[in-house]
Amino acid sequence: MKLGDLILKIFTLLVFALMYGPIVMMLAFSFNDSNVIGAWRGFTLHWYYELFSSVDIWNAFRNSVLVALVTAMASIVLGTLTALAMVRYSFKGKNVLDGLLYVPIIIPEITEALTLLLFYLWIGWGLQMGFATVAIGHIAFSVAFVFVIVRARMAGFDRSVEEAAKTLGANEIQTFFRITLPILLPGIVAAGLLAFTLSFDDFYKSVFTTGPAFDLLPLKIFSMASRGGVRPELNALATIALMISMGFALLYQWISKK
C-alpha cells in the first residue's frame, strides 16, 4: 500500500472517529452512575427510569409523535399529488412552479419559522397556538421534500406498465390504484419516513409556532440544555431520540432499495 493511500485512510478513519466520538460519549455517560459527566462511576439505568417517570417528558414525546404522524400522512398525500401532476403533465407555469417548490428546501429554517409566526399573528391565531399551528407549519415544509423524493422515484417508472393495464381492461382509476400506486409505494413510504423525521426533530418552526400548553421534544431538550448544561438524564433522553433517528435512517435505506 502506497504511503499516500495509507495517510488518506488513516485520516478518513480519524475523521469518522471524531464524528462519532461525541455521540458515543454521550451514549456512554447516559449510563453513568453519577450526576457529573466525566468520571465514570458505574453502570446504571437510573436516568432512563427518571425519563420514563417524567410526565413532562412523556407529554412532549407524545406531542412530537402526534405532530410527526399527522405531518407525514398529510405531506405524503399532498406531495405525491404534486409529483404526479408535475411528472405526467405539462401545463403553463410548470417551470415556475418547479422552482417555487424548491424554496422550502433551501430557505433558512429560522426565516421560515418566523414567517409562520407572523402569519398566525396576523390572522388572529396568536392565542390558539398549539397542535394545529405547529402541524400546519410542518406540513407546509415537508410537502416539498416528499415531492422531490417521489418525483425522483417516478423518473424511473416505466409508463408502458400502465398502458398494458389499460389494454387489459383497466380504466384510469383501476390502473392508478392497482398498478401505479403499488409500484410507487416504497418511494412514497420512504418519503413519509423523511417527513416524519423532519417533523419529529424540528426545532425552529416548533419553537416559534407553539403555545404554552403544547410542548414538543426538541423544545424540551433545548430548555433542559439551556438551563442546566450537560446532564445525564438529558444524555439519556438524547440517546433515545438518537436511536429512533438512526433506526429511521436505516429503515429508509432498506426501503429505498426496493
Binding site: 478518513t12 461525541p22 430557505i107 429554517e109 426533530d201
Partner: protein, 285 residues
C-alpha cells in the same frame, strides 16, 4: 366509483384539467401556509402590519434602514464570514474523506456512507448537545486561575460548525467522485500524469458539481445558524440567527426581525440562483 370514472372519461377530452385538478389541494395548502406567510414577512418588514396585527396602508423602509445600522452590519458580515470559513474547512476535510471512501476503500464504502448519512437524520440539536458533552472538557489552565475554554469562544463555534456540517459536504462530494469512471483516471496516468497531477487536472474538475452542491448545502444554512453560536459561542460570536432569535423571542420586535430575516433570505436566494446558473442540476436525495 363509476360516477367518478364517467367524469374522468369526459375530462379526458380536455387534458389540461387533470393536472390542475391533481394540483389543487397541494397548491391551495402551500399558497395558504407557505407562500402567504412568506409575503407576510415582507409586509411586516415594510411596516404594513401594525402592532395589533392589522393590515395598514402605510409603507415604510424605516425597519430596513435600522437593519443596516452599524452593529447589525457587523453581525451580518461576521455571519457570512463564519459560514464561508465553515464551507472552506468542510471542503478541505471532507474532500479527502469522500475521495478515500469512493476510490480507496471500495469494500467498505456502503457501510461508511451509511455512517455519513445517519447524521442527516439526527436532529441538529441532538448533535450539538452531544458535542457539548465533549467540548466542556477542553479547558486549558494557564497559570493559576486563568482558564481558556473552547466553550464560549470562536474556536468553539468553528468546531461546532465544521463538526455539524461536515456530513453535508461529504455526501455530495462522494456522489460526484463516485461517478467518475476509474478508466478515465487510469487513462490520465498512462498519458504521463502523476497521481497529484491527475487529481488537479482531471478528478477535481470532473467533481466540480459535487463541490458546488456541497458548498451550497453547508454555506446557506450556516448563515442563519442559531443553535451553535448560542451554545458554543460567546458575545463576539453572535450571529444573525441569534439576532433574529432575540428580536423575536425576547424583544418581540417582529418588524425589525422580519426586515433582517428578509435581507438574509435575499442574500441566500441570490447565492443559490448564481449556483443554479453556473452549477446547475438538482439536489439528489
Amino acid at each position: 366509483m363509476s360516477y367518478i370514472q364517467r367524469l374522468i372519461d369526459k375530462l379526458r377530452q380536455r387534458k389540461q384539467i387533470i393536472p390542475v385538478a391533481l394540483l389543487f389541494p397541494p397548491l391551495i395548502y402551500l399558497a395558504l401556509f407557505f407562500f402567504i406567510p412568506m409575503s407576510t414577512g415582507f409586509l411586516y418588514g415594510f411596516g404594513m402590519i401594525d402592532r395589533f396585527y392589522r393590515f395598514t396602508q402605510s409603507f415604510t423602509v424605516l425597519h430596513y434602514i435600522r437593519a443596516f445600522d452599524y452593529t447589525f452590519l457587523l453581525i451580518f458580515s461576521r455571519s457570512l464570514l463564519i459560514a464561508g470559513l465553515t464551507a472552506v474547512l468542510c471542503f478541505f476535510i471532507g474532500y479527502p474523506v469522500a475521495y478515500t471512501i469512493a476510490l480507496k476503500m471500495r469494500r467498505f464504502r456502503n457501510l461508511l456512507m451509511i455512517l455519513v448519512i445517519i447524521p442527516y437524520w439526527v436532529s441538529f440539536l441532538l448533535r450539538i448537545y452531544a458535542l457539548i458533552n465533549v467540548l466542556q472538557f477542553f479547558d486549558i489552565y494557564i497559570f493559576s486561575g486563568l482558564k481558556i475554554s473552547i466553550m464560549g469562544s470562536f474556536l468553539g463555534v468553528m468546531t461546532g460548525m465544521v463538526w455539524d456540517y461536515l456530513p453535508f459536504m461529504i455526501l455530495p462530494l462522494y456522489a460526484s467522485i463516485e461517478k467518475v469512471e476509474v478508466s478515465i483516471l487510469e487513462a490520465s496516468k498512462t498519458l504521463g500524469a502523476s497521481s497529484l497531477k491527475t487529481y488537479f487536472h482531471v478528478t477535481l474538475p470532473l467533481t466540480a458539481p459535487g463541490v458546488a452542491a456541497g458548498t451550497i448545502l453547508v454555506f446557506v444554512p450556516s448563515v442563519g445558524e442559531f443553535l451553535i453560536p448560542y451554545f458554543l459561542g460567546g458575545v463576539t460570536e453572535y450571529m444573525v440567527g441569534n439576532l433574529i432569535w432575540e428580536l423575536i423571542m425576547k424583544a418581540h420586535n417582529y418588524w425589525l426581525g422580519s426586515a433582517i430575516s428578509t435581507i438574509v433570505l435575499t442574500i441566500v436566494l441570490v447565492i443559490v440562483l448564481i449556483y443554479m446558473k453556473y452549477g446547475g442540476g438538482e439536489m439528489a436525495f
